[in-house]
Amino acid sequence: MQATLNAAVAPAYSPEVRQLLFDYVLQLADTSLLLGHRLSEWCGHGPILEQDLALANIALDLLGETRSLYQYAAELEGRRRTEDDLAFLRVATDYRNPLLVEQPNGDFAHTVVRQFLFDNFHYHFLQQLQTSPNEHLAAIAEKSVKEAAYHLKWSAEWIIRLGDGTEESRQRIDKAISKLWRYAGELTTPTPTEKALQDLGLIPNYTALQPTLDAYVAQVFAEATLPVPQQIAVQLGGKQGRHSEHLGYILAELQYMQRTYPGMQW
C-alpha cells in the first residue's frame, strides 16, 4: 500500500535537490532491500526454529521499510516508474547499497556480524533522521527506528553469546569479524550526494554519529570479550555503484520473475 503523509504537501525542492534526494532515497531502499533479501535466504535454514523466525521477521521489517522508500523515490522521480520498477528493473551498477549488505550469509556468525554492523548504524542513524526537515524521511525513520531497536538488541546479544561462548563460536565470530569489518566504514563515509544533503541539513551528519556507533561497539564487544578491530582498511564502492561479484547473483534471483514475465503480479 502506498504511504501518504498527514499533510500531503510535498516541499518544493529545486530540480537539483530533488535529484540528490532521489539518488539518496534509492540508496537507502537498495540497502534495506538487499539485506532483507539476504536474510530471507535463511528462511527454513536457521540454526534453530526461533532464530529462523527471528531472521525472517527482521527481513520482513526491512522489506517493509524498503517499500516505503521506493514509493517515495518513485514520487520524487515523477516519471511513472513504480516501486516495483525501481526494485526489479535496474541493472547492478545502478544499485547504491553499501558493500556490507550484499555480502553472503556465510555461517551464522557471519550473518550476526554483518547484522550487528548494519543495525548499529541503522538504529542510531534513524534516531537522527526522525528530526529531518524532510517529512517523508522523518516519517519513515519514526516508523522503522522502533523495529531497528529490536534488530539491534537481537544482533548485539548474539555477538555476546558467540564471542563469550564456546571455543568453536569464538573462532567463528573472530573469522567473521576479520572478514566483514572492512565493510563497516562505508556506512559512515559520505558520498558526494550524501555530503550535499548533509550540508543542506536534510540528513544526519555521519561525523557526529561516529562516536555513538563506536561507543556502542565498545560496550557490546567488551561484554563479548572481543577486541575491537583497530586500523582496518575501509573498502568502499557499493554506494557509488561499484559492487562485489555477489550483487549480480542476488539480482539474477531477485529480478527473475519480473524480467521473465514483465509486469507480472502476485
Binding site: M1, Q2, A3, T4, L5, N6, E50, Q51, L53, A54, A56, N57, I58, L60, D61, L62, L63, G64, E65, R67, S68, E135, A138, A139, I140, E142, K143, S144, K146, E147, A149, Y150, L152, K153, W154, A156, E157, I160, V220, E223
Partner: protein, 171 residues
C-alpha cells in the same frame, strides 16, 4: 448513500461501527479498532476517507485490511472511498484498547505489559517483566525469542505450567 452523505456526522458514526466489524486477519479476535490502526474517518466532497497506519512496516496484513474495509463499506452501499496509509505518528501498542487487551488474553496471547516505557528494548538480555501466562496466570515466565509467528509477537514460556505462549510485544 446520498441520504447519508447529507448527514456526514451520522455517516461517520456508522462507518466507525462498521470498522468495529473488520478484524485483523492475523489475530482475528481483534477488530482493527481494538488494534488502534484506524487513525481517522472523514468525509469530504462526497467521498469517505479512512486513514490507517501499519503496526509494523512490513505487515503483510495491510493490503488485506484495506480490502476488508472496502468490502465492508461496499456491503452498505458506500463505494466512494479512499484509504490512506499513514506512517507518522508511528503505531504503538499503547493504542491497543482495553477491550482488545482483554480479548487477547482470553484468546491465549499475553497482552503487552508496561508499554509506556519502551526504554527497556535495548537493554541487552532484558525482557518485559511480569508477562502473565494466559493459561495459568503465573507471572513466573521467561522470554524464548523476541520474534514470533507474526511481527507483533514474541515467544514466551511459563516456568510453572511449562506452556509456551505468544506475547503481544511492546512497540
Amino acid at each position: 448513500m446520498n441520504e447519508l452523505i447529507a448527514n456526514s456526522q451520522q455517516l461517520t458514526a456508522k462507518i466507525w461501527q462498521l470498522l468495529e466489524e473488520v478484524s485483523d486477519p492475523e489475530v482475528p479476535v481483534l477488530s482493527i479498532l481494538d488494534l488502534g490502526i484506524v487513525r481517522g474517518v472523514r468525509i469530504a466532497d462526497n467521498e469517505v476517507h479512512i486513514t490507517i497506519t501499519p503496526t509494523y512496516s512490513g505487515c503483510p496484513a495491510m493490503n488485506t485490511i484495506a480490502t476488508e474495509i472496502r468490502l465492508r463499506l461496499l456491503a452498505e452501499g458506500i463505494s466512494k472511498l479512499t484509504i490512506h496509509n499513514q506512517l507518522s505518528p508511528a503505531w504503538t501498542t499503547q493504542w491497543l484498547s482495553q477491550a482488545g487487551r482483554e480479548k487477547l488474553a482470553a484468546y491465549g496471547i499475553a497482552p503487552p505489559q508496561n508499554d509506556t516505557a519502551m526504554g527497556h528494548v535495548l537493554k541487552l538480555f532484558g525482557q518485559d517483566t511480569a508477562v502473565p501466562c494466559p493459561l495459568c496466570n503465573s507471572t513466573n515466565t521467561h522470554l524464548v525469542s523476541q520474534f514470533g509467528s507474526t511481527s507483533c509477537k514474541a515467544l514466551y514460556q511459563c516456568n510453572d505450567c511449562r506452556e509456551p505462549f505468544d506475547y503481544f510485544k511492546c512497540h
